[in-house]
Amino acid sequence: MLMTDAKRQFEVPSLSKRVLTIVGGYGSGKSEVSVNLARFLAETTNKPIAIADLDIVNPYFRSREATTRLEKLGIEAIVPRGGQFYADLPIILPEIKSAIEGYEGTLILDVGGDDAGARVLSSLADAFIPGEYEMLLVVNVNRPFTKDIPSSRQLISRIEDSSRLTFTGLISNSHMMEHTTTDTILQGVQVAEELSRATNLPLVFVSVTQDILEKIHPEQLQTPVLSLDRYLLKPWERKTNSNSSTG
């Protein structure tokens, strides 16, 4: 991937745990973050990378839509195949459990929204090995369930209850879709940092699309940055022959 001079000066995320579980409110951008994290790790580490789509609550805008592009980068996608790829069915592939228990590289779990979406983790709870996983909350202050510190704390406790796992960190992914500005990003990070202080959960990184990142001066962001390449595009945002989503 090409990096501009400006970007090189941003700190990049450092994640060493074997299992990275990405959780958050509905529409906070979990899937986009998960897919980009997989790409970033595939490009910057030598370890095998796998991504599992655990979103069984909502069959739209799931990370599995990026399967073909991820596989081109050598990333293993653990998703149902054939017709079931599209099914509105809670399909938990048996491979997911064994991957949580002992995947050789880094496994990214893209989980469904809210405590409802995170409940699936509870059925897999005995596969998680304490100390070998991260559970990261994706925070978008422009979404109602994480709009401020109290609502975010509430979501954290609801998700921890339903998943029976404990959070280990935060991701700031504040955006307003195509209306995102540099202020959206900076204000989001500010709230995320506040939440970090209130919960003692480290802010692991902030995710920003490349076009906005170009407008931000490195000094404005003291947090590690994951630059986002949009994978989960709306049909009218796609260019011909890119982002093919056939399973």
């Binding site: 054939g82 017709g83 079931q84 790829f85 599209y86 099914a87 056939t246």
Partner: protein, 341 residues
């Protein structure tokens, strides 16, 4: 066979029997309950199936199950009951199951009223239920024609593996006219069945379904259905002309019993020296678009008048056919007020 006097509803029932219907499922609703009453005696007499379901929702789905046997089955109902059957009708169209559905229409929307109307034109010809599908729709104007079209409906349902709907208003159902049934009912040969569920003996199992998870396969199925509907448009257009001539100043488009009322009006106008012709669509889907266009485009026609017992539903199809070639006019009543000549 000699002519006998029959109520439309009874005639429709007997026509289905003659066409070889092996099963009839129903739920009572005015003004078509005579079909159910007639069949409750007639079908057991013949060792065939009669069943009154608990609702039109169930009846539509019973029809789905029964049609999966490959045997000829049908149901009759009236406007609100037909609405409740739309779920099953859509599934049947999706799964390509043949069945005949008769709608003896009344006035709507909602509970409306029970008197004759043609208020379900859109519902019948534009799909009616959810999804991308069409029904073959036929509209008789006399009790004899109801008999003939009923028999044809079973044939077309099998020919196209598609539900066929026959629509008439309360007049068709309640009116008595002399009818004649063919002594022996013969029809063109049909393609062999390779989809009916008969048990997976000596073959791999079959599944009758409309679910296609893979969007590519779903799209394939939708285009397959589309091709079928296009074939219907080429092969199944039916209509009748009445007093259409080069003297006509006005061309009336009307279907069902409404067309007969127009015939009488045309006769009366003729006495007064006004020449009017009638174009009566018999198949409402496929709609005789090209044929209407041809008649309407003739030089002598000054106005195309659509007459319906609904608020200008068919007129939209007439407009589409005429494509602005001639000025349009509409006359109609609905809600049970039957226009008179």
């Amino acid at each position: 066979m000699a002519k006998i006097l029959m109520k439309g509803n009874e005639a429709i029932a007997e026509a289905a029997v003659k066409a070889g219907a092996q099963g009839y499922f129903c739920y009572p609703i005015t003004p078509q309950s005579e079909v159910a009453e007639y069949m409750s005696r007639r079908m057991p007499e013949l060792g065939r199936v009669f069943l009154q379901g608990e609702s039109e929702v169930a009846v539509g789905n019973m029809l789905f199950g029964a049609a999966s046997t490959g045997l000829r089955v049908f149901t009759t109902s009236s406007s609100p009951g037909i609405s409740l059957m739309q779920e099953a009708i859509s599934y049947m169209a999706g799964a390509q199951l043949p069945a005949v559905i008769v709608n003896i229409m009344r006035g709507g929307p909602g509970l409306g009223g029970i008197l004759p109307a043609q208020s379900d034109y859109f519902q019948a010809v534009k799909g009616g239920g959810h999804g991308d599908y069409r029904l073959l729709v036929l509209a008789p104007s006399t009790v004899q024609e109801a008999v003939d079209l009923m028999m044809l409906s079973f044939h077309l349902a099998d020919k196209y593996r598609n539900p066929v709907m026959m629509i008439g208003d309360g007049m068709i159902g309640q009116m008595m006219e002399a009818v004649e049934f063919p002594d022996e009912y013969k029809e063109d040969p049909l393609p062999p069945k390779d989809w009916d569920l008969t048990g997976a003996k000596g073959r791999s199992p079959r599944v009758v379904k409309s679910l296609f998870l893979d969007p590519v396969k779903l799209e394939d199925n939708s285009w397959l259905l589309h091709e079928k509907y296009e074939r219907m448009k080429r092969e199944e257009v039916r209509y009748e002309l009445y007093k259409v001539s080069a003297k006509n100043k006005i061309l009336i488009i009307a279907y069902g019993t409404m067309a007969r009322i127009c015939q009488t009006a045309i006769d009366e106008l003729e006495q007064e020296g006004i020449s009017v012709g009638l174009f009566r669509p018999i198949s409402l889907f496929p709609f005789p678009e090209k044929e209407i266009k041809k008649e309407a485009s003739k030089k002598n026609i000054q106005t195309v008048l659509t007459v319906e017992m609904s608020t200008a539903q068919m007129m939209e199809d007439v407009e589409r056919a005429v494509l602005g070639a001639k000025p349009m006019a509409f006359f109609g009543h609905t809600g049970g007020i039957v226009p008179t000549p």
